[in-house]
Amino acid sequence: MSDARKKYLLSLFSSILMALVIGAVIMAVSGHNPLEGYAVLITGAFGSERSIGNTLYKTAQLCITGIATAVASQGGIFNVGGEGQMYLGAIASCWLGAALNGTSPWLAIPLCLLAAILAGALYAWIPAILKIKLNISEVITTILMNSIAIYFCTYLANGPLKTTEKGIVSGTASLDRAFRFSRLIKGSNLTQTVFMIAVVTLLVWYLMSRTTTGFGMKLTGENSRFARYAGLNAGMLGILGMLISGAMCGMLGMFECFGLQTRFKTDFSNEFYFDGMLVAMIMQYRPLGIILMSFFFGALKIGAVSMQSQTGISSELILIIQSVIIFFMAAQEGLLASLGRHSSARRANRMRGGVKS
């Protein structure tokens, strides 16, 4: 393992530890027993089949959105617009799904998946092309396009695409039972989609780290002038990262609706994308790190719900813990520099067998 990697892991673990300690202090200050709090949190996340299912599903969700952020940023574009891409993927697939109600799922599901992927990718293509051709900041465009997408979908779900079923005020028509992804563990959120998510995550990871495409994307993201000079198609590689990212988000939108929701509802996402984006940023867009961290954050999120209901400790505590980790990771550079200075000083002293004066 390289020195830099070691230091990075060191600072990651110390950040997590610090965050958990600070979380404990807050619990104690607010009159709770931190040990009890964490114990409940852990049982909340892993205590039953149902909770394990929920934790796994949350992990999968964070993974796919985290990797989606990472793949775009590898090509040099910061995709803040995953939420919007997810909404469009969801509405496109649900609309098509409802239209295909009654046909064979072997026909309908692949078509709906295609629709979701296309919608997400297309919506990501717009900010990407604006960035590459006109150098317009993708951060601004993607944030704005999130709102546009969400309002647009809300309009559709309450207007032209609104279901005619009785008693339902908003949302598209229910999908055929045969189209829905079933739950793997009863009562939990874990649906069959978890396999698809795992496969896609691994495929994109492979693409990013082991292929000529990922290689080109990485160099483009680091220095696009250099990439162009070296004969890479820098513009295309940057856009490709965004297309993949958008496609992944669109796909997740479909999975949410075809799995848990059974149709498009305007509140199907609770800003899922941003949670994953955060994980990706903390892990510096490294795929393996994102997968591991997703598991940690997934467990925290699910565990926190039980913690709140059983001990009264607010689940907002999780936000604090996340923020502290982010804070320390952001301060990493400085922390590492000081750590490095001490350790290399020690090493040199050992080498000459002396004591620091």
Partner: protein, 514 residues
């Protein structure tokens, strides 16, 4: 001993350990007040690191620094500046979008109330220019001025902050001979008149002889000797540095017999970054097995010429043909695919990706070849590593192994990575700009041999260099460029350098009258 005056700088037992690289190994060095001290050594010997420690950029792993007998407790540039130390780095550290004046007063801006007082800033710079005779225009934007001028800005910045110990890290690497002479005049005058102390790092040994009082030689992190400059000569210094003689023999050559040019530029016009004409109706031809040298003072269109030929810059009008194909308007990828390689002058922004390691920087552009990937898709990481090891050994790339990000290599080793990549791709036409900028004598000789080898393989080579000696050593034909046009063509074996120098400055007629 106690009678002797305290040295103005005293570095004692400095050791600097980077991950995997011992950059300075127990170096002790005293600098006397009012002297010009030259520091020389191979690429990666640790010169920049040692001076960065003095300037407070790095905290050494061990050792101490005393300035005028006072020990530095903190290694921090602000602390160093307070002690009167100024440094001009090998790779400049200016803000490109700021004006000259803004850059010079940065961090100590004159204010009027809460606001930056730009009129006062410009005035300060005017005064500095008067005082030190280093002409710059305060209101120019740094991005738009030549490297030679940028360097003046760096020097003025250090002087403005009250430096009286000035460190210059390879200041002449980017200068023309004339600019170098001017710089040396300034150095001599600030030392003589203002009693300043100057430490200068350079790879050009004739400059060491010309300007320094004493010279220190570094090798593999150690300071292996300090001499009075008058006691040594270039050959002694070269062999101290490299550990063996570097001969720089002239090359024996035969003229190419090719009749069909590999590179043809016709009536080319190109704009610079500001949208002003940089290349004006320029034409040239390069034949296989031939080196055409372009001599000119920086900023006369040679950068834009190289960029246009390699597809990096838009062609305004005219035509470029490579191996009988019209490549005008093609992008760099298409031009490379025809068998063109390109050593750009700007290795930091263009020639390398600093965050990526040596492996990726060496393989890029060839990753789809069967040897590096299966079906042009699945990377053969192991083969990439082997390849990087091979090239690192062949081109003597040193510093921390193949997984080092290129941005933490020494300047000369960065250049070697770039040269190694461009010289290994089996190209038939090469555009080479400033190939030995920042490399040591040994490496320069090596790179020159590589270029000659390419020539004998039948490569057509367009060589652009600010170093007239280099052009003379390598070129079959030499063209001078002035204000974007070719002003003359010479056979270097029969033409005096002085005459070429006149054509480079647009005073060709004067040569005719003599």
């Amino acid at each position: 001993m106690s009678q002797e005056v305290t040295p103005v700088v005293s570095m004692r037992h400095i050791t600097m350990q980077f991950p995997g690289v011992l950059a300075n190994d127990d170096v002790s060095l005293d600098i006397r007040k009012g002297e010009i001290f030259a520091l020389v050594g191979e690429n990666g010997a640790g010169k920049s690191t040692l001076m960065n420690i003095l300037y407070g950029m790095y905290t050494p792993t061990d050792g101490e620094v005393l300035v005028r007998g006072e020990r530095l407790f903190r290694f921090d540039p602000n602390e160093a500046i307070r002690h009167g130390i100024g440094m001009v780095h090998q790779h400049f550290m200016l803000v490109p979008s700021f004006t000259v004046a803004q850059n010079i007063v940065l961090n100590t801006e004159p204010r009027r109330g809460l606001f930056y007082d730009f009129r006062r800033a410009n005035q300060i710079v005017e005064e500095l220019v008067q005082e030190y005779g280093l002409a710059v225009r305060p209101t120019d934007t740094v991005r738009d001025i030549s490297v030679g001028l940028q360097q003046r800005v760096e020097i003025l910045k250090a002087l403005y902050r009250g430096a009286d110990i000035l460190i210059l890290d390879e200041p002449t690497a980017v200068l023309t001979p004339q600019e170098t002479d001017e710089l040396f005049d300034v150095i001599r005058s600030i030392v003589r008149i203002r009693q300043m102390t100057v430490i200068i790092i350079t790879h050009k040994l004739n400059e060491v002889m010309a300007i320094s009082d004493r010279v220190g030689v570094m090798r593999q992190g150690k300071l292996i000797g300090v001499c009075q400059t008058c006691d040594v000569n270039e050959r002694i210094l070269a062999s101290m540095m490299v550990g063996k003689d570097v001969l720089m023999e002239p090359f024996i050559r035969e003229k190419t017999k090719a009749t069909e040019p590999a590179l043809v530029v016709e009536n080319l016009s190109v704009l610079d970054n500001r949208g002003l004409p940089a290349v004006r109706g320029l034409s040239l031809k390069v034949f296989p097995g031939e080196i055409l040298g372009i001599a000119g003072i920086e900023g006369n269109g040679q950068s834009e010429l190289a960029e246009a030929v390699t597809g990096m810059r838009h062609v305004q009008s005219g035509q470029i043909r490579i191996l009988n194909r019209d490549v005008t308007g093609m992008d760099p990828a298409q031009i490379r695919a025809l068998g063109v390689s390109h050593v750009p002058e700007d290795r930091i922004q263009t020639g390398l990706s600093g965050k990526s390691d040596i492996v990726d920087n060496l393989v890029v552009g060839r990753e789809k070849e069967p040897q590096f990937s299966i079906r042009g898709f699945h990377l053969k990481k192991k083969r990439m590593k082997e390849y990087a090891e091979e090239l690192s050994a062949n081109f003597d790339i040193r510093g921390g192994g193949i997984h080092t990000p290129t941005q933490s290599l020494s300047g000369g080793n960065m250049q070697k990575v770039l040269v190694a990549r461009e010289f290994s791709s089996g190209s038939r036409v090469m555009i080479i700009s400033q190939p030995s900028r920042g490399v040591d004598v040994g490496a320069m000789d090596f790179i020159h041999r590589q270029i000659m080898e390419k020539r004998s393989e039948g490569c057509a080579i367009l060589l652009i260099s600010a170093d007239l000696d280099e052009l003379y050593r390598l070129s079959d034909r030499l063209c001078t460029i002035y204000e974007g046009s070719i002003t003359g063509e010479f056979d270097p074996s029969v033409t005096e350098k002085r005459e070429v120098g006149l054509y480079m400055t647009g005073r060709g007629e004067e040569a005719g009258h003599e």
